[in-house]
């Protein structure tokens, strides 16, 4: 537990969830994967965005996220929902431009927000380390309007070049997504790390530090990033989780302590 002079105590995972939840406005559609995105969407729904439409890749749409789903296909992903269809419907909904937000994670991220969740090492097969693979990640990163990447912040993860582009960020820079044939106007929107909130510079499409978490300095963020970060002119400081956010997270969303 982090000790603060004022306000309630919280752990890094709780902070990540709160910062991610606050990125989502009300009445948007959001593609939700396992883990922290589920908690973030649920928290957003209970705080400021009651009409966030959660979309789970195997068909659950618009659930009331009363309790935390543990798998992307289980019944909580469509509890009191607006649809329970299948994966084709969901991925085609995203292809048609109906999905505003998507959440992503990965073992490695580079300055352009390209993500690796496939292999570690230079060789594809047999690899040094085999990771799970794309899953729905590539579809989400290709087709949703704005993706929010949630990732632990250290030099091992924030690398100059990912070993494998599982999910496209801005690829090699401005115009590269469109050149590859990906739908225009899509791409990484925010990175919520364990240290900071980051976005991508309009001109270069490279990652930019927006604001740091409570108690974290700009230097710490820079030290833990394996490539040169663009630093925003006025780097802000993120608000810590409020007592109400923490109460909802602990008492209502994850009382079993599955994630937090």
């Amino acid at each position: 537990m982090r000790q603060l002079s004022t306000g309630p105590e919280y752990n890094p995972t709780e902070l990540l969830i709160c910062i991610a939840a606050r990125q989502m406005p009300d009445s948007v559609t959001a593609f939700i994967g396992t883990g922290i995105p589920m908690l973030a969407a649920s928290l957003a729904q209970k705080m400021h965005a009651p009409n966030v439409v959660s979309i789970f890749e195997f068909g659950g749409t618009g659930a009331r996220l009363v309790r935390l789903p543990r798998a992307v296909g289980e019944s909580r992903t469509f509890y009191r929902g607006v649809a329970a269809s299948g994966i084709c419907d969901i991925m085609e909904t995203a292809t048609r431009g109906f999905v505003d937000f998507g959440f992503l994670g990965g073992a490695q991220i580079d300055p352009y927000g390209n993500l690796n969740s496939t292999i570690i090492g230079p060789q594809h097969h047999p690899p040094k380390v085999r990771l799970p693979g794309s899953g729905g990640g590539n579809d989400v990163g290709s087709l949703c309007w704005r993706t929010i990447i949630i990732v632990r912040h250290d030099q091992r993860r924030f690398v100059p070049q990912v070993d494998f582009i599982t999910t496209p960020g801005y690829l090699t820079g401005p115009g590269a997504r469109e050149e590859a044939g990906l739908p225009p106007g899509t791409g990484p929107y925010r990175v919520v790390s364990t240290l900071a909130l980051l976005d991508f510079d309009e001109e270069t499409k490279r990652m930019r530090l927006l604001s740091t978490h409570p108690g974290v300095t700009v230097e710490q963020v820079v030290e833990n990033t394996g490539f040169e970060l663009i630093i925003a002119d006025d780097v802000g400081q993120n608000e810590p989780p409020t007592a109400e956010e923490l109460r909802i997270l602990r008492k209502e969303i994850d009382p079993e302590g599955f994630y937090i």
Partner: protein
Amino acid sequence: MRVIESGIGELIQPPDLDAFREWNRAKSRALVDKMMTEAEAISRFVYDGCYIGTELYGTVRCPMSLVREVVRQGKKDLRVAGQGVTELDLWLGAGLVKKLDLTYIGLEVYGTSRALRRAVESGQVESVVEWSNGGITWRFKAAAMGVPFIPVRAMLGSDTFRYSAAKVVECPFTGQKICLLPALILDVALIHVSRADKYGNAQIDGISGFAFEMSRACKRLIISAEEIVDSEEVRRHPDRTIIPYYLVDAVVHAPFGSHPGEMVYYYARDERQLREWVEASKTEEGTRAYLDKYVYGVANHREYLELIGQERLEELRAEEEGRR
């Protein structure tokens, strides 16, 4: 249509649409009782080297009683459409997989799959070809449509594409780049459903995952069902029937067929049992011991359920009912 770029991955199961049509032409439409045991269904329709796929995903509605029987019978050199957690982990752990069209194999909240890591990093799995979840399902959809490929806007620009067997072409209508995915026709598909009649008319409660597409993209279809109901009951609500009987080769009655995973409206997943696999699968010895106990050590699904225990199964049922 100009091909701009080709993935370098192996096309593990090249589609032959005309052969598929002939196969389907010859497939019996007779309304006959197709009920059989897991042992009979697997020994009749699954064979060494076949291309096989399972539905759904993660721990949800997976055809686990069928999957365990495949392990029990030691069907080997399987070529697999790979998205899964509990089911593919067992096959990988048992060393049955030769080639893999891989989208995601991991343990979701429990992290990466050690069975996958051992089987792939050692080179035991000879060929690994990358796809996205949408990608592999669209491949089933193309097969279900009876066409050789389907154009999609995912996978472009990535290494997921590069190590797939997809192609990027210039769209003849818009001039834009588009990704073409080859149809994927399975030799055998295994699907677990909520209820079915003895002929194979099958209904699924809750999300349908990719059951619709997969059931139409395979030569042989084995379904297992939580409940076997009277055909009239199924016919009373044909709008709920996702799989009509003539697609089906075998119907297996498998209550708790998705255990240790969950089944919407029937039972919750067995967290304790899942954790046991997560721990056991960390080593080869542990994997072997787990398979000895829960697969080789029991003769069939009924004995497996006895091993898990009625009391535990009732707890899981109660847990799911509480969520309605």
